[in-house]
């Protein structure tokens, strides 16, 4: 049973405002694992192990499922209200798919609600084409006697061509669908689906329908389109906005893209959305660096070269032109006369304050750079992962041809690369998280977890980069050359070479299947490979465990409000 075929249990819900209007499911916003509690939301992870504290339930829906669900809802409401499905659909969209609120309001005031939504139930009032004698269209000023005209129930009449142009402009150019109004200035009557159908060309109608379809997901806080380019899936996740302070709702689309349901960015566990936002803003804002430069460097008044202040002494000498000046007032040092030890052109208090501000600014910058460098390092290493993956692919090939290991048995290398990457991403975000932590015993525990994962990751990385004893990657590649091939044209990839140079060479797929040169691998090599495999599996398992420990504990800590934050969660301004 999926979230989409929920049963009509809305009657059980007496508080309409609590009702989740988006997918027609009721949702407790208390963050407890209440799935399957009679609301039709089946536990998505039922076939997996027990859910970890940092994992959330979600479901991936295809476009067809989204359409099917809307159709079902529409049919249901049309049945209750006794109206056309098009009208029920327009009403539902107006009520953002909150079915019972719609039904309740509609029962009270059918005409009023229909009018607000731009629904014309009365067939008599439905927009009809008519040829009106002596009519001049107020928009194009045409008054042809046989011109087709159209008026919505507001009786604002225009020619059909103008309506067609108008709808084209709204749908194709402005991407509007459900709120297109009558062409008359200030008239709020909505152009209903049936009228749109009658007026526009098929391709515009198709665009209109797909826009309407998208509004279903866009209107719902519990549905999001996967942000991967051209991905057609939507993710359903029931997470309340206040829960975003406690967990990063990472979801995985069927296309493979992993992203945060809260903010749409790629997975950023364990750093919660709001801190990610502050952090990215800080990184984008180079004012930090600018501050430092202004606090620690000045320009020589004579030659304009930049001078960095590196001691406490105010007597500066320009390295370039040997000009001597005072750091505090920037005046020539000679003007200071006998008071050479102290600038008396500024009062002492001001000069001390200036130095204090400078010191503070420098300290803040150094703290930021500490976290930023580590954050950036993991990002950089993760970017190099494609290289590691290619190298690993070559190794895997070499392993298969050197040992008796089967294809499936050498997959551990690939798996290890994935684990490594995932953990680097996690580590990266631990540094942005740590930047916002205030220093206390708890922070020390967090940093222990961070350090353990960091070490585990570097060990695994080192092992994966290490050459495998007895397995010559280069010679393995070379063995693929047969006498029919011209060896001089074949670029031997020794594993360390650039993969791009390989791709310029004749395609490897055109070569005959691998024929290992070592048809009988020595027992020694075989042993060393088995040994390596065990080592990689062990280290990979350890990395996974450390990552789980870190993520679980961080999430747990967020729930228990164990982490002291040194940032104002509203403004993103750091406390002193």
């Amino acid at each position: 049973m999926s979230a989409m075929d929920y049963d009509d249990d809305y009657m059980d819900d007496d508080d309409v405002d609590e009702y989740d209007s988006d997918t027609g499911m009721d949702v407790d916003d208390d963050g407890e694992d209440d799935y399957g509690a009679g609301d039709g939301f089946a536990p998505v992870v039922a076939d997996r192990d027990v859910k970890k504290p940092y994992e959330v339930d979600f479901k991936v829906h295809s476009t067809d499922e989204i359409v099917a669900f809307q159709t079902k809802e529409v049919a249901h409401v049309a049945g209750i209200l006794g109206c056309l499905p098009e009208h029920a659909a327009t009403l539902l969209r107006t009520f953002k798919w909150n079915k019972e609120r719609l039904i309740e309001r509609y029962m009270e005031d059918p005409e009023g609600e229909s009018e607000k939504a731009g629904v014309v139930m009365d067939a008599q009032k439905q927009a009809k084409f008519a040829i009106v004698k002596g009519f001049e269209c107020p928009i194009c000023c045409n008054d042809d006697a046989d011109m087709e005209t159209l008026a919505l129930h507001c009786e604002h009449r225009f020619c059909r061509d103008c309506y067609a142009h108008y709808l084209n402009e709204k749908v194709a150019e402005q991407g509007e669908s459900r709120r297109i109004q009558c062409m008359s200035a200030g008239c709020k009557v909505v152009v209903d689906e049936i009228t749109v159908e009658k007026v526009v060309a098929p391709e515009i109608l198709a665009k209109y329908r797909s826009l309407l379809l998208r509004t279903y997901v866009d209107d719902s806080v519990h549905l999001k389109w996967c942000p991967a380019p051209d991905c057609v899936y939507a993710i359903e996740c029931h997470i309340a906005s206040n829960q975003l302070l406690e967990v990063v709702p990472t979801v995985r689309c069927k296309c493979g893209h992993q992203f945060c349901f809260g903010c749409g960015l790629p997975d950023h566990q364990p750093c919660i959305c709001v801190l990610v936002r502050f952090w990215l803003k800080k990184c984008a804002d180079d004012s930090e660096t600018a501050n430092w430069i202004s606090a620690n460097t000045k320009e020589c008044m004579k030659c304009m070269s930049t001078i960095e202040k590196n001691g406490g002494c105010n007597h500066m000498t320009c390295k370039k032109c040997k000009h001597e000046f005072c750091w505090v007032c920037l005046g020539p040092w000679s003007d200071h006369g006998t008071a050479w030890y102290n600038c008396n052109r500024f009062d002492e208090k001001a000069s001390i304050d200036a130095r204090d501000t400078q010191a503070k600014s420098r300290q803040a910058l150094e703290r930021y750079l500490h976290y930023y460098n580590r954050y950036a390092n993991h990002e950089q290493s993760a970017k190099l992962s494609s290289e590691l993956l290619e190298k690993t692919a070559i190794k895997m090939e070499a392993l298969q041809s050197t040992s008796t290991l089967s294809w499936i048995e050498v997959q551990f290398l690939r798996k290890a690369c994935d684990v490594l990457l995932e953990s680097r991403m996690t580590l990266k975000w631990t540094y942005s998280f740590a930047y916002f932590l205030s220093r206390d015993n708890m922070t020390a525990l967090f940093e222990d977890n961070q350090r353990d994962l960091e070490m585990a990751v570097e060990n695994l990385n080192e092992l994966l980069e290490r050459p495998i004893p007895g397995v010559d990657v280069a010679s393995t590649a070379a063995t693929t050359i047969t006498p029919q091939q011209q060896p001089s044209h074949h670029h031997v990839n020794n594993g360390a070479g650039t993969p791009t140079s390989m791709s310029k060479e004749p395609s490897a797929t055109s070569l005959p299947p691998l024929t290992p040169s070592h048809s009988t691998p020595s027992v020694l090599v075989e042993d060393s490979i088995r040994d390596l495999r065990q080592q990689v599996l062990d280290k990979m398992g350890y990395v996974k465990t450390r990552r789980e420990v870190l993520l679980s504990d961080t999430t747990q800590g967020l729930r228990e409000h164990r982490w002291g934050m040194n940032v104002d969660m509203k403004t993103g301004i750091l406390f002193d």
């Binding site: 107020p138 194009c140 000023c141 604002h156 225009f158 142009h165 108008y166 062409m183 200035a185």
Partner: protein
């Protein structure tokens, strides 16, 4: 491309029965481009000034709004340094049933009733909110300096 009947009719009417305090004259060589002059409304800080504007009807007109811009410098919270105007009917509230005449009348009304809560020129809006009297005096000075016929 021939000028649409709508534009011909609108132009004829603008010339035959101009709105009070507003003149709009199309260029001979481009009938979609108008020289506009709006007189500063009475009892506004723009009183006594003649404000030049340019108005252009894009290809999609009237499905898309006309493009209008002040050419005369003006101190107004909804008009920026480049003369661009913040007016809802020139953007999302545009309806093809609106006309050049209605647009110019709306701009004239905007001169009578500046709206510092929906500003385009932030510094001017701030001035207007913090010290309306002083802002109005600045607007008067600008009118005398830049918009005198």
């Amino acid at each position: 491309m021939a000028l649409p009947k709508r534009i011909i009719k609108e132009t004829e009417r603008l010339m035959a029965e101009p709105a009070p305090g507003i003149s709009a004259t199309p260029h001979d060589d481009n009938l979609r481009y108008f020289d506009v002059v709006i007189s500063g409304p009475q009892q506004s800080p723009f009183e006594g000034g003649d404000f030049k504007l340019e108005l252009f009807l894009p290809e999609e007109y009237p499905m898309a709004p006309p493009k209008v811009r002040f050419l005369t410098k003006i101190y107004h919270p909804n008009i920026d340094k480049l003369g661009r105007i913040c007016l809802d009917i020139l953007k999302d509230k545009w309806s093809p049933a609106l006309q050049i005449r209605t647009v110019l009348l709306s701009i004239q009304a905007l001169l009578s009733a500046p709206n510092p809560d929906d500003p385009l020129a932030n510094d001017v809006a701030q001035h207007w909110k913090e010290n309306e009297k002083d802002a109005i005096q600045t607007a008067r000075n600008w009118t005398a300096q830049h918009a005198h016929a």
